[in-house]
Subunit: 390 residues, 2 copies
């Protein structure tokens, strides 16, 4: 019987002893135990040579420390949280409001769901092949704005921008504000270029949920030829807790079958697909359950691609999977797809209908994965409420 | 007669007393005086309340301090460098090898030369309108990789990547490695969203030259639909010295005439075009002299656009103008245009001919602008040599 008194700290709960996600509470690193948090600074000495890392005020030093430190710290945390006697100085505190637990260096957003890419292609280019020729050969991606990544719970203001009009563009608040349910990977380890697929896990510290808020009308007008810009850069929300990659050992699966082989630098030596089940909640209605195992490229392939040109990866780099969509209508990761470009209404509980987001709407994304021995691994929610354009 | 003994510290030279660019030498902020540098930490007390800012080891605190501090520090520097007696503690040192003098937060690259955009359109889409419909209504731009911005002098390794092939993509070193001669703007002041055109100068600390190295074969295969990614992210070079925006008071001009008005948020209350003349030197041959005054959107319009959706701007954000090209063949800002997509050879001195960059080629970009009273304002060079793919 552990000293941790929290009903949610059990193997059948997403934040039980098998998960141990990292965040920041009261200005110090903490680990989430069920519905409470354990700040680490008071017990930092228990971590020996890693005391300074866990006593820091953000995850940045731990991210920089690399794979061996991550493994050591997690092993020690498992011991400490399984002990029957309360470790000296340890005290649980409320989770509080989440804060962004690390400084985002570069942010990259991929586009690795075949279902999503095909659906978007069909909606925007109905007369062409839904997939462009490069899509099955490389994980298409682009850089986003690191400075507007916000933590779960931050209100998201409806952005202004240019939209295509009958006689030239018009300007005003977005009328097609959307979400994208994604999974994000937080990088660490030494700064280096070219991370081969086989070393990707040495540079991925952990996993978060991402809501890549998207103003479809702004995006549609601006995005050619250089890609999305202001339609995305107003806000991107991420979980306040980072679930360590190590927690997903029982969730690893092969990426889906391919019609042709990928180039050598993208070949995986081990399966890095992840059997994550996402849930998208819109004002209290579950509107979708996207399966991450459908993603065509794994995070290892994405990181290998992103660095194959010699680009360095730094601690705090964050890359997101792209919208997670599956083959079924109740597995789609954005409202553009669910409403088929705004054509169809989406029914919410209580009789309300939607195409895109209205002011004061709240979207909450959660996810779980199978853990060891039948346990469950959780990703912390990413939630946001739309505030009116100012 | 000033105490500064340097032949290049004169009004008819680019780094005379009218320019005073900031950099970092020997781990401390320094100001460039002709061909030497004045480290500021030993004389920091002369800056009164701003002593801590100028005693820092990078420009980051000064960038964060905002417009009033920038004006104060520059005024004090002008006094100190014009004094006849050597200020206590002041000592000139060699320029040394440049270092990146600030931490780049977010990096955005625009596409604001009409000549460049039209030329690229004609080369890649010969049967369509050279400009896409959005181009004359908004400054098209995208986010680049902040972590691979390097200082002038850093070798640039030829990147590997996927290129379009006859039967599917091939992989290998880029065969169409190019430059883009651009002007970059370094942001500062308080973190804020929506910077109106009229306040842009309060958030732009200074100006650098940028070489946005571009692997055209990688870019051509990857860029649809989400824009350039690995074709750019291997390296972007910037000047090691930041010339303050205040130095350009005599260089301000209106942007070129337009065929139709821009939307209200892009209307300028004062001219923020800049009469900068760039020079592109390829292995010792001047191959181009692009005129920055041709740019269709000013930095003030670019910053207003970038933040009109509420996106915040942070100290250390860097945005680049896009390739600076003019209407004449000797005013083009990249080799893609000079060689018309690789069709025409570019003659260098000594009889060598080129289309794109070969290994060990060196490109040096410099620029000057008119200063007050007939003086000349310089931007520090951005230079890079191509090293072979490893």
């Amino acid at each position: 019987m552990t000293w941790v008194q929290d009903e949610a700290f059990s193997a059948d709960q997403p934040f039980g002893p098998q998960t141990l996600p990292y965040g920041v509470v009261d200005g110090q690193i903490a680990v989430r135990l069920g519905d409470q948090a354990l700040p680490l600074r008071p017990i930092a000495e228990s971590f020996g040579e890693h005391a300074d890392l866990v006593a820091a005020d953000s995850l940045n030093p731990l991210l920089a420390a690399g794979r061996q430190a991550w493994t050591d710290v997690r092993a020690r945390l498992t011991e400490l949280t399984q002990a029957s006697a309360t470790p000296k100085g340890a005290a649980l505190v409320p989770l509080g409001n989440p804060v962004l637990p690390f400084t985002v260096a570069d942010y990259v957003d991929f586009y690795s769901s075949k279902y999503h890419a095909e659906n978007v292609g069909r909606i925007f280019r109905p007369n062409d092949d839904p997939l462009l020729p490069n899509w099955t050969h490389l994980p298409v991606g682009y850089h986003g704005r690191a400075g507007t990544i916000v933590v779960s719970g931050t209100p998201v203001e409806r952005p202004h921008g240019q939209r295509r009009g009958q006689q030239g563009p018009t300007f005003g608040p977005s009328q097609r504000l959307d979400i994208e349910a994604e999974v994000g990977f937080v990088c660490g380890g030494p700064v280096t270029g070219r991370v081969p697929v086989s070393s990707a896990a040495d540079h991925v510290f952990g996993v978060v949920l991402v809501n890549d808020w998207s103003a479809r009308d702004i995006q549609a007008w601006e995005y050619q030829p250089l890609g999305p810009f202001l339609g995305k850069s107003f806000a991107t929300s991420v979980s306040g807790w980072v679930t360590p990659l190590d927690a997903f050992s029982a969730a690893r699966v092969h990426t889906p079958p391919r019609t042709h082989p990928v180039l050598d630098y993208l070949v995986e030596d081990q399966p890095w697909g992840l059997e994550l089940l996402l849930e998208v909640d819109w004002n209290g209605s579950i509107v979708s359950r996207p399966q991450f195992a459908n993603m065509f490229y794994s995070f290892a392939q994405q990181l290998a691609h992103m660095t194959v040109n010699g680009a360095t990866v730094r601690p705090g780099d964050l890359f997101a999977s792209g919208t997670v969509s599956g083959p079924e209508r109740d597995q789609l990761g954005c409202f553009l797809e669910m409403s088929w470009g705004g054509r169809d209404k989406i029914a919410l509980l209580g009789g309300e209908k939607r195409t895109f987001l209205e002011d004061h709407d709240t979207v909450r994304i959660t996810a779980t994965a199978p853990g060891p021995d039948g346990s469950v691994i959780g990703l912390a929610e990413v939630v946001g409420t739309v505030s009116p354009a100012s």
